[in-house]
């Protein structure tokens, strides 16, 4: 039943790295969508002209628009997903591209992160996230379990057998990264976000974001979406809405989601990110393949 899965990336890629990968015909479309979105949202296309929080969300909106452009390119080529999954804020992207919310609403959801950032700043919470390359979720879990409490940090995302993300109190994240380096991480570095997406503490800072999702109008997605939290198949708008909320304060198991997609019969994965980021941190079995924009 499920053969083709579309994979949506989260935030993190630099806009210039995303847009440089778009072929000319997609660049035109990107420019058009960006102009529409930035005009509506009151964002400047020159990053430095935006206020600090606006600058951050502007980058994320660019990522969202790139996903939309690549998604439309794939479907325009006749590649139709049987199912999809969104990594972190890729959940917002997939909500828009699969029609659970309008593209404008998806942008508005991203914009609500400003309220979260403002709240964290007001409360003076020192938070951070970090990427660890060279450890699987279980290996890292074994290393951190005895040394840190869940209040201090959690594994925010298990991405593959060699890629994980941690999040929590900035000081604990820094200590954990140092520990990972000593224990043989190929690379362990702070993302310097000032946020700790996927850590439970984010719930109290994201009340406005969560309320916005509750009030937004969600429809059934055009294609099923696999939850990266409980690996359930979501076909109703209400479930997609909850997934958008959970996304802020719940750890992800992307590695298990990929495995589940394979169990469901998926053999062809399509990375919807313009810079092929998903294919780089995800792994599938030998009989499967992840296609990127370059391949298509």
């Amino acid at each position: 039943m499920y053969r083709k899965a579309f994979l949506f990336n989260g935030i993190g890629s630099k806009p210039e790295k995303l847009t440089v990968k778009l072929p000319p015909e997609l660049t035109d479309r990107f420019m058009h969508y960006r102009s529409e979105a930035f005009g509506r949202l009151g964002l400047h296309t020159e990053p430095e002209k935006n206020a600090p929080f606006d600058r951050k969300v502007a980058e994320w909106i660019i990522s969202l628009i790139c996903d939309r452009v690549v998604f439309e390119y794939y479907t325009g080529k006749g590649i139709i997903p049987d199912i999809g999954a969104g990594y972190s804020s890729g959940i917002v992207s997939i909500s828009g591209c699969f029609g659970a919310v309008s593209h404008e609403c998806a942008q508005d959801i991203i914009m609500m992160n400003r309220a979260t950032m403002r709240c964290i700043e007001e409360k003076g919470a020192g938070l951070d996230m970090g990427a660890v390359i060279g450890f699987s979720h279980s290996e890292l879990s074994g290393l951190l379990r005895e040394r840190f409490t869940e209040e201090e940090l959690v594994i925010g995302s298990g991405n593959s057998s060699f890629h994980t993300m941690i999040c929590g109190q900035a000081e604990a994240v820094e200590k954990a990264l140092e520990l990972c380096r000593r224990e043989g991480a190929l690379k362990a570095f702070s993302l310097g976000t000032g946020l700790a997406y996927h850590h439970p503490v984010m719930k109290e800072y994201s009340k406005e974001y969560i309320a916005f999702c509750t009030a937004a109008e969600y429809s059934a997605p055009a294609y099923p979406v696999l939850s990266v939290f409980d690996r359930g198949i979501m076909t109703e708008g209400n479930r997609i809405m909850k997934e958008n909320q959970l996304n802020v304060y719940t750890p992800i198991r992307w590695d298990l989601a990929m495995k589940k997609l394979e169990e469901l019969g998926v053999t062809e994965f399509f990375d919807v990110s313009a810079d092929s980021a998903v294919s780089r941190f995800s792994r599938v079995s030998r009989n499967c393949r992840i296609y990127t924009l370059e391949d298509v």
Binding site: G134, G184, R280
Partner: protein, 100 residues
């Protein structure tokens, strides 16, 4: 320890150069043993992981990334020569590379 011939060493070198040329979209002939993979070619740690996976598959090696990471703590990969040397050591020592 596994013996490494000059032929295998050359094969590993070619594999690494070809890989970086393709991934970093660089002319293969512009890469030398003195090239800095990170600063000159713009490579990153995810590319490095893929190269390790390719090598392990090609030569049937069983090596943990953390063993390589611990080795790299003492021996940074600043040039392509460092990278080639390290992959030859992975070929020879596998997980015991940490003790080298």
């Amino acid at each position: 320890m596994k013996e490494i011939t000059e032929e295998i060493r050359q094969e590993i070198r070619d594999m690494i150069f070809d890989y970086y040329a393709e991934e970093c979209e660089t002319d293969r002939s512009s890469i030398t043993m003195e090239t800095d993979p990170q600063n000159d070619l713009g490579s990153d740690s995810l590319m490095f992981v893929e190269l390790i996976e390719m090598t392990a598959e090609k030569y049937g090696l069983d090596v943990k990334l953390q063993s390589i990471g611990k080795y790299m703590l003492r021996t940074p990969m600043n040039t392509m020569k460092d990278v080639v040397d390290m992959f030859c050591r992975i070929y020879q020592y596998g997980n015991d590379i940490t003790d080298q």
